[in-house]
Symmetry: C2
Subunit: 120 residues, 2 copies
């Protein structure tokens, strides 16, 4: 499975979640996997990309069709995370930004300029 | 130095760059550091967050005051990267998205709800 999200035609929405994990797993791995699977079943879900480095600093960007879809997902996620006391155990700090994607480009070594690059 | 970007009042712009590195450094480490330092001196630069995991999948999000600032930075970055043949040596694949940040929240373990969270 590709670790890159698809590239639908803008506009769409990005939820940028940057976080510093605390030490130890504390159930995070399993819960993160469940949250990811839950996201993929939500209305308006377009894809996600995620990376976490050895220091525990991670960025996850999920993509959504509309702001309403983002709001519905956040309600679901908050509900699920609240049950797990996620904020107080898993994270030392996080930043969450909601942004409207206006332009998107891509490039692949095997394919050169990718579809959606506007032919530029 | 914090690995989190500041949280200015929206709206502002995010450049979301997700990339898969090729094997080997090939001068990437030094160039990435220079690119980061160059970014911090550009007009409209607000901050950046970056993570790359052990598989070489990385996400860097840089934040900018305006679309004009983003465009000027991209011209500078393209110019610098072209000199280094960056695309064809450092990356197997990348996606670049330009998005307008409409809302931003944050949380810190030591401080609870962070400034800019709207007191919600």
């Amino acid at each position: 499975m590709s670790r890159f999200a698809p590239r639908p035609e803008p506009p769409y929405y990005a939820v940028i979640f940057t976080s510093q994990r605390t030490e130890g797993d504390l159930g995070y791995g399993d819960a993160a996997e469940r949250m990811f699977e839950l996201a993929t079943t939500q209305p308006g879900y377009l894809g996600a990309e995620s990376s976490r480095d050895a220091s525990g600093l991670g960025i996850t960007v999920s993509y959504w069709r509309s702001l309403d879809d983002v709001a519905a997902w956040r309600r679901n996620a908050d509900h699920t995370l609240a049950r797990n006391s996620a904020r107080t155990t898993w994270y030392a700090h996080y930043e969450l930004r909601i942004a409207k994607v206006e332009r998107a480009y891509g490039w692949d070594r095997d394919g050169g300029t990718a579809p959606g690059d506007g032919g530029a």
